[in-house]
């Protein structure tokens, strides 16, 4: 009886530990994958061709299922940290109200986003909870409610969050979050506005 219970528990543990959707298919040849990607977007204009290629970080994160071994992880962290540009004025906090608008906007870089005047957004709410009153938030990333308050509004934390938004892989190699600064999605000024949304004592994010 006891042996049976034990066996059941082990079986349940094994089932829980098995990777979801584990496949037995042979892995695809990387050169073939790249060739079919090239062929899949024949309408892509010349200045979009770069989007079909992977840089070293994308390639390594893809190869390791976003869970790189220690040495690879450290190499990614180092390389991406080196790609961070800092605000020329040395200040990390911009305007949290502008930051809130950026966090709401998912505009930019899609093939229908042709406006020359409308700025790209950060679309933070797609994945994160931020201001308590905004109920339409996603759950791919962690909740950022009270982000600054929890950290006592520390100056070092403001710098760290700037770095995370500018280049998430510098803090978390193979993060799912876009490299907003390094990939020129947002400007340095826009990133400072997002830092203020998270780190300013006046920001509604810190008034939960």
């Amino acid at each position: 009886m006891r042996a049976l219970t034990f066996a059941l528990a082990l079986a349940a543990l094994a089932a829980a530990a098995a990777p979801a959707g584990a496949q037995q298919a042979p892995a695809a040849d990387p050169a073939k994958v790249q060739a079919v990607v090239k062929a899949a977007f024949p309408k892509a204009p010349a200045d979009w061709q770069a989007r079909l290629e992977q840089d070293a970080t994308m390639r390594e994160c893809t190869a390791h299922g976003n869970n790189p071994p220690k040495a690879a992880s450290e190499a990614i962290r180092k390389r991406e940290a080196a790609a961070i540009e800092y605000p020329p004025d040395g200040k990390f906090l911009g305007d949290w109200q502008k930051g809130e608008a950026l966090a709401q906007s998912g505009y930019g870089l899609r093939f229908t986003d042709t406006s020359t005047s409308r700025p790209n957004g950060g679309n933070c709410y797609a994945c994160h909870k931020l201001t308590r009153t905004e109920l339409s938030y996603g759950t791919i990333g962690p909740s950022l409610g009270n982000y600054g308050k929890i950290r006592d509004f520390g100056a070092e934390d403001a710098k760290a969050v700037y770095e995370k938004i500018y280049n998430s892989h510098a803090a978390f190699p193979c993060s799912l979050m876009p490299r907003f600064g390094a990939n020129k999605i947002l400007t340095i000024e826009q990133i400072k506005d997002l830092v203020a949304l998270l780190m300013s004592p006046e920001s509604p994010v810190n008034k939960e």
């Binding site: 349940a12 829980a16 079919v36 899949a40 989007r51």
Partner: protein
């Protein structure tokens, strides 16, 4: 003492099991009531209008060669529609490649009816509020003729195996200015974008529930959306260029999804948000 340790082990194991669904929010519950009403009265799904339209388009002589698609071989012999969709994508010797339903209909419209390939893929998907294009309506009809059957795409031919493996590689491949892959949003349990729940497509149990609903009537854009269109829309949101209908990559992704959904029911046209 020992017993409580065992009990704890079982509880811990159970908590990790993917079969325990996260709490559904009210919106999802309301949608489920709507879906149940549709199941009770299938004729209330507007997608059925395109099933009928697609059937007419299939049977009517059309194109420069003025012939119907009734000689089109969807894998079970010329003109045999019933059950064909449940066994797609598959390898077709005449085209020497693997094809999903839309790519195969495209091939038949070009080779049998004489339509222009370039014209059919130039703007293959409808804008919001516009009806699904003719090719998509035919695909909806063909898919409906497998409704209630289980997905059983063949995986014997080397090119069918290659397509499924290629699809899996494309599913996890990160690219574009946002570094996104399909897996960024669809490789975890119970996640959502804003309030929209995301299907966990790399998990067969969840893939079996959702893949069979394509082509489906999409309430938010009030038209039938095909699976090729759904993929095109994902790549748009991923900041990638326009995915070519019938491209090897698009068919490979369909092969991967259908393989994940193997054993699940075809329920086309489904009803989507």
């Amino acid at each position: 003492m020992t017993r409580s340790v065992f009990l704890l082990a079982v509880l811990v194991a159970a908590a990790g099991l993917p079969s325990i669904a996260p709490a559904q929010d009210a919106t999802e519950k309301a949608l489920e009531v709507y879906r149940q009403m549709l199941r009770d009265d299938p004729w209330s799904n507007p997608g059925n209008l395109d099933v009928d339209r697609g059937e007419q388009l299939w049977k009517t002589p059309r194109g420069p060669k003025n012939v119907s698609l009734e000689r089109c071989d969807l894998g079970k012999g010329p003109g045999k529609v019933e059950g064909a969709f449940a066994e797609l994508p598959r390898y077709f010797a005449d085209a020497d490649r693997v094809m999903d339903v839309e790519t195969r209909i495209l091939w038949c419209m070009v080779s049998l009816q004489g339509f222009s390939h370039a014209e059919l893929v130039a703007k293959p998907h409808p804008g919001g509020g516009q009806p699904v294009k003719e090719l998509g309506a035919i695909a909806t009809y063909v898919a409906h003729q497998s409704s209630g059957m289980k997905f059983a795409a063949p995986l014997a031919h080397p090119k069918e195996k290659e397509a499924a493996a290629l699809g899996e590689a494309l599913f996890v491949r990160r690219s574009g200015p946002f570094d996104f892959a399909c897996a960024t949003c669809h490789a975890d349990q119970g996640r959502r974008i804003r309030l929209q729940p995301l299907p966990f497509l790399s998990q067969p149990a969840e893939a079996r529930k959702v893949v069979g609903e394509w082509p489906g009537y999409r309430v938010s854009t009030s038209h039938v959306m095909t699976l090729q269109h759904r993929l095109y829309d994902c790549f748009w949101q991923m900041r990638m260029p326009q995915l070519e209908l019938g491209s090897e990559a698009s068919v490979a992704l369909v092969s991967y999804l259908v393989r994940q959904a193997a054993g699940g029911d075809v329920a086309a046209p489904g009803l989507k948000r």
